[in-house]
């Protein structure tokens, strides 16, 4: 379960991380490479999930890591370093997204009714999937397309909670919304993705899944 996964933390790793942060603050800047190494992939994927473009995501990820380095003194030990880093990344990616889309009259708030119940469209049986499924490029591609087709506000929450394994509270803080909103958006994101993927993955892609705009189930 995601909740269980997030609450687990290796105390030895945490202690090592705290020691690294202390030393970096003390002037041993080179140790910063060691500190961020376990999170590089996560930083990139968080940026990519928001920007949906490799070049922009890489640029935003680099900028976020640099900002984390420059502001390492502002990091508070009560938080997890990974959460703090991802939060910076999300902010950076969102800022870029706003800049790049500033010319488009995009509503700041998505007016889709969050409170309305979501009705699953598809009831295809999709039981256990072997983990090897992800070894297939085709499957990863379909998953990426499905995720990219979600609205921004659903995608952000889903990525932070289910892909970055932040807690509900951490996700709420990173996105700047209430925990209740996180839960609502998360529910919708998960159900929407299931609707998109179940027919294909459940039926070994017998039915072609299309993510063209008009075909979305919501």
């Amino acid at each position: 379960m995601p909740g269980e996964a997030t609450s687990l933390e290796n105390p030895a790793e945490k202690s090592n991380e705290e020691m690294l942060i202390r030393r970096i603050r003390g002037g041993e800047h080179e140790l910063f490479y060691e500190l961020i190494r376990p999170y590089e992939r996560r930083v990139y994927s968080a940026a990519f999930a928001i920007l949906r473009n490799e070049a922009d995501a890489e640029d935003a990820a680099q900028e976020a890591v640099l900002k984390a380095f420059k502001h390492i003194r502002q990091f508070r030990a009560e938080a997890r370093f990974s959460t703090w880093l991802i939060q910076i990344t999300v902010n950076e990616a969102r800022m870029r997204r706003r800049k790049e889309h500033a010319h488009i009259m995009e509503p700041i708030v998505d007016h889709q009714d969050e409170e309305g119940n979501y009705t699953p469209r598809d009831f295809a049986d999709w039981r256990e999937i072997p983990s090897e499924t992800l070894e297939r490029n085709e499957v990863r591609q379909k998953l990426a397309e499905a995720l990219a087709s979600l609205g921004q506000k659903y995608r952000e929450v889903f990525v932070l909670r289910d892909m970055q394994h932040l807690s509900i509270q951490e996700t709420a803080k990173a996105v700047g919304i209430s925990t209740a909103s996180v839960k609502t958006r998360l529910l919708r994101a998960r159900l929407m993705l299931r609707d998109l993927l179940a027919p294909g993955l459940g039926g070994s892609w017998n039915s072609k899944v299309s993510f063209a705009k008009g075909d979305k189930p919501w």
Partner: protein, 203 residues
């Protein structure tokens, strides 16, 4: 408690998070036992979480890590740790050189040499054993033919001799005085071979 399909869908995410109270949980589980559609939704949603939670989902572009590190390197000030390391190295080098001058003295001021013509023994290994005489002005390698008062000799280290104001004999210590810079590393801290000198000391 009986729950409808709509209620199950509304709570399915919380159910998977383990965040529904025991009564509702039991009711949802009971619902699953009799509802094929909701079971399909449950299985599918769980699979979504599992698949996307796998770190293989996103592949970072080739060379991402290297480019990130390069960018960091370009923007990273020289660390105090590194600067400190350099400082230590430079200081240590200075001390090695200076050490020969002060001969391991605890005070870093050079004593006044007994002879105006003497050269400071900065190139002579500090721990090498040499001989000095009470009324002499220079220290010598044992057996040096230019030792004046052989009856009053005592053996000391170069650093002790330097501390007492003795200067190196320009004959038997010639090697250290003229070619000190080149030969110093090879002799540092060792009992080096001391070549004899054929020339006459002026002392």
């Amino acid at each position: 408690m009986v729950v409808s399909c709509e209620e199950v869908w509304r709570e399915i995410s919380n159910y998977l998070e383990g965040e529904v109270d025991p009564g509702l949980r039991a009711a949802i589980q009971e619902h699953f036992r009799g509802c094929k559609h909701c079971t399909a939704v449950l299985d599918g949603t769980r699979n979504v979480i599992e698949l996307y939670g796998d770190e293989r989902m996103f592949e970072v572009p080739l060379g991402f890590s290297q480019r990130l590190h390069r960018r960091l390197e370009e923007n990273m000030p020289r660390s105090r740790g590194l600067a400190f390391g350099w400082m230590v190295a430079v200081t240590a080098a200075g001390l090695v050189v200076g050490g020969f001058e002060v001969g391991g003295s605890s005070v870093f001021t050079r004593p006044e040499l007994r002879s105006e013509h003497a050269q400071p023994g900065s190139g002579v290994p500090a721990q090498m054993m040499v001989v000095v005489s009470a009324d002499g002005k220079t220290f010598h390698a044992p057996g040096c033919r230019f030792i004046h008062d052989k009856a009053k000799l005592r053996t000391v280290t170069v650093s002790e001799a330097l501390r007492e104001g003795y200067a190196p004999c320009v004959r038997c210590m010639k090697k250290y005085l003229s070619g000190a810079v080149i030969s110093r590393p090879a002799f540092a801290g060792t009992e080096a071979h001391i070549p004899g000198s054929e020339a006459q000391s002026r002392e």
